[in-house]
Amino acid sequence: MNLPARPSGGPDRRGYFGPFGGRFIPETLMTALLDLESGYERIRKDRSFHADLRNLLTGFAGRPTPLYRADRLSSAAGCRVYLKREDLCHTGAHKINNCVGQALLAVRLGKRRIIAETGAGQHGVATATIAAKLGLSCTIYMGAEDVRRQATNVFRMKLLGATVVEVHSGSKTLKDAMNEALRDWVTNVENTYYLIGSVAGPHPYPMIVRDFQSVIGFEARRQVLREEGRLPRSIYACVGGGSNAIGIFYAFIPARTELIGVEAGGTGTSLGRHSASLSRGKPGILHGMQTFLLSVPTGNVAAVHSIAAGLDYPGVGPEHAYLKKMRRARYFSVTDREALAAFHHLTRLEGIPPAFESAHAVAGFWKERRRYRKSDLVIVNISGRGDKDIPRLFENGR
C-alpha cells in the first residue's frame, strides 16, 4: 500500500505527459504549485508519512478492497469477470483514497483549510470526511445544478462540518465548481490547500492523484495473481476526470493487459449531449492542463451531459490523453440508457448496485463481452456504490 516507487511514464519536469498536461494557471498560484511539488517529493521519501497513510487507508478507508469473482455475471457474459470493489470503500467510492493522501500532505505543508470541487458530491463527501477526521476546516464548491441532483450528499457534507458553496456561474456543474475553487485558492493561497478530486488540473495534481489512486491497481494485480496466477486480458473503468481509471490502470501499464476507459455517451453524439472528451473532443486547455476537451469552435468550453454527475466534465486528465495518443489505452463511450441497463443488470445478477458512473464501466464491458473467450480474465472497476443514485431512480419510478 505504498506510493509507486518510480513513476513509469511521466510526467516530465514541466508536468507534461507527451504533449499533454502542463501548468496553465494564474501566476499567483505558481509558487503554491511549486511548493506542492517539492512538498510531495519530500513525503514520497518520508517513512512516517507512509505509515500514516497506510493506517488511514486500512482502518479508516477500508482497504484493501476485495477483488470479487462475479460468477453470475461471468456466466451471463461468457468469460471470467472480476469486480474491483471500490464501492466498499468508506464514503462509497474510490475518491477517499486520494483524499486521505492529499489531506495528509496538506497537514505536512502546514495548511489547515481545505477546499475542493465536487460533481456528484462523492469527492466533496470524501474530502469533508477526512477533513473531519483530521480536524481541518473544509469548504466544498458544487454547481447549483448538482446540488439539486445530489441533495443527500450536500446534507452529508454539512453533517461532516463542511461549508458547501453553491456555484451559479456557467453551466452550474462540475467545471464551474472547479473554476470557483480555483478563484478561492487564488484568494486564500497562503493558508489553503486545494484538494483536487481527479487526475486533472495543473501539474503536479495529475501525478499526485494518480499516485494516491494507484493503490487500486497494485492491489488488484496482487489479488488476481493470487487467485488466478495470471494477469487479466482486459480492465474496464469509467472515465470522468479519470482518477479511478488511471488508479486501476497504472500498475498494469508495463503489462500486456488491455486498458479500456468508458466515457459518458449521454443522450447522443452531438456536442452538449455527452461528456466523452477522449472519444469526441479535441486538444484544448482548461483548468490548468492541456488535454482533450469538448469545446465549441470559438474556443469556449462546450456544455456537457451525463446521467452520472461524476462523469459530467468537459475535460479529462492529461495522462489519459497521452495513453490514448500512445495507444496504450483505448476509450469509447456508452449512453445513459446503456449505463442504466447495466446498473439494473449488475444489481439483479450480483446484488451489487453500482454508482451510475461505475455502471458505465459495466456497460462498456457488456457491450464488448463477445470479444472474450470462456477462459479470458476481465476486471471491471466498480468505482463506487449506487446508494447515492437510488433516490433518482425512485423519483423517476413514481
Binding site: F24, E27, T28, T187, K282
Partner: protein, 249 residues
C-alpha cells in the same frame, strides 16, 4: 499628458457592439493610454463576478475571436490596444495564426492570465515580431522566478503586476500598497519594462495610490460596472482617474 499610464479593460461587445465602440472612443478622448480588450472566455478563472457577467453577456450575443478583431480594427489607429483572453481561444486557432491575426487587427500584444512564464516559454516561438506577450508578477512570485519573468518582457511588453492575492474586482486590503511598492522596486532592478498594477483598482483614490507605486494602473471591473450604468458615469470615472494620475508627477 502625465507620465503615469491609465490602462482600461473592456470586454469586447459589452454591453453591446455599439456601446462598446462608443466606450472605447470615450476612453481615448479621456486620455486612456492603452485599451485592454477582452475576448470573452466561458471559464475565466482569474476574473471576479463583474467580468464574468460581462463575458457571459458578450458570449451570448455572439462575440468571438473574429468579431473581437473586427471591433478592434474599427477603433482609431492612435489608440494602443492589447488583447486579453485565456489560453484556449488562442490555442484552438493555433498560437501563431491567432497572434498574427490579432496584430493585423491593431493589437500590439496579448495578455493571457492562465499562462505563467514556464508555459510562455513554449509559446514565445509563435509570437510574431513586434507583438508582445505580457508577463504577470504576483505578490506570491518568488525572487528566482521574478528574474525569469522580467527577462520575458520584450518588444514593448509591460509587466502586469497583480496587486493582491485574488481575482479581478476583489477588495484591496490595507497592506497591499506597501507590498506593491516593494515588488515594483524589485522589478525595476531587473528590467526597464514599465510596471502597471491591476486587480481591485476601483476609485480615483485607488488609482492615485497605486499610480504612485508603479508606472500606471489597470482598471477593469469598476469601469465595466460604471459602463453598465451608462456612458456618463463611465466617462466620469475615467476622467477622475486620469486627473489624479496626472497630478502625480
Amino acid at each position: 499628458m502625465g507620465a503615469k499610464k491609465l490602462i482600461l479593460y473592456l470586454t469586447a461587445g459589452y454591453p453591446d457592439g455599439s456601446r462598446f465602440a462608443r466606450a472605447a472612443s470615450v476612453a481615448a478622448d479621456e486620455g486612456v493610454d492603452i485599451l485592454e480588450i477582452g475576448l470573452p472566455f466561458s471559464d475565466p478563472v482569474a476574473d471576479g463576478p463583474v467580468i464574468q457577467a460581462a463575458s457571459a453577456v458578450a458570449i451570448r450575443s455572439g462575440v468571438t475571436f473574429e468579431r473581437t478583431l473586427a471591433m478592434s480594427a474599427r477603433l482609431p489607429q492612435s489608440l494602443p490596444r492589447v488583447l486579453m483572453t485565456y489560453a484556449n481561444p488562442i490555442f484552438v486557432r493555433g498560437w501563431s495564426r491567432a497572434f498574427s491575426l490579432a496584430r493585423s487587427a491593431g493589437f500590439s500584444g496579448a495578455i493571457l492570465p492562465d499562462i505563467p512564464v514556464e508555459e510562455l516559454a513554449s509559446i514565445e516561438p509563435f509570437r510574431p515580431p513586434g507583438f508582445y506577450l505580457v508577463p504577470f508578477v504576483a505578490p506570491t512570485t518568488s525572487p528566482d522566478r521574478l528574474s525569469r519573468i522580467c527577462r520575458t518582457a520584450r518588444d514593448g511588453a509591460f509587466i502586469y503586476l497583480v496587486s493582491l492575492r485574488g481575482i479581478t474586482g476583489a477588495r484591496i486590503g490595507d497592506t497591499v500598497a506597501e507590498e506593491v511598492t516593494a515588488v515594483t522596486r524589485r522589478i525595476r532592478r531587473l528590467t526597464h519594462a514599465p510596471v502597471y498594477v491591476g486587480f481591485g483598482i476601483r476609485t480615483a483614490a485607488d488609482a492615485e495610490k497605486f499610480g504612485r507605486c508603479a508606472d500606471g494602473v489597470i482598471v477593469g471591473s469598476s469601469a465595466l460596472a460604471a459602463l453598465g450604468r451608462g456612458l456618463a458615469p463611465f466617462a466620469r470615472l475615467i476622467r477622475q482617474m486620469r486627473r489624479k494620475l496626472d497630478r502625480l508627477d
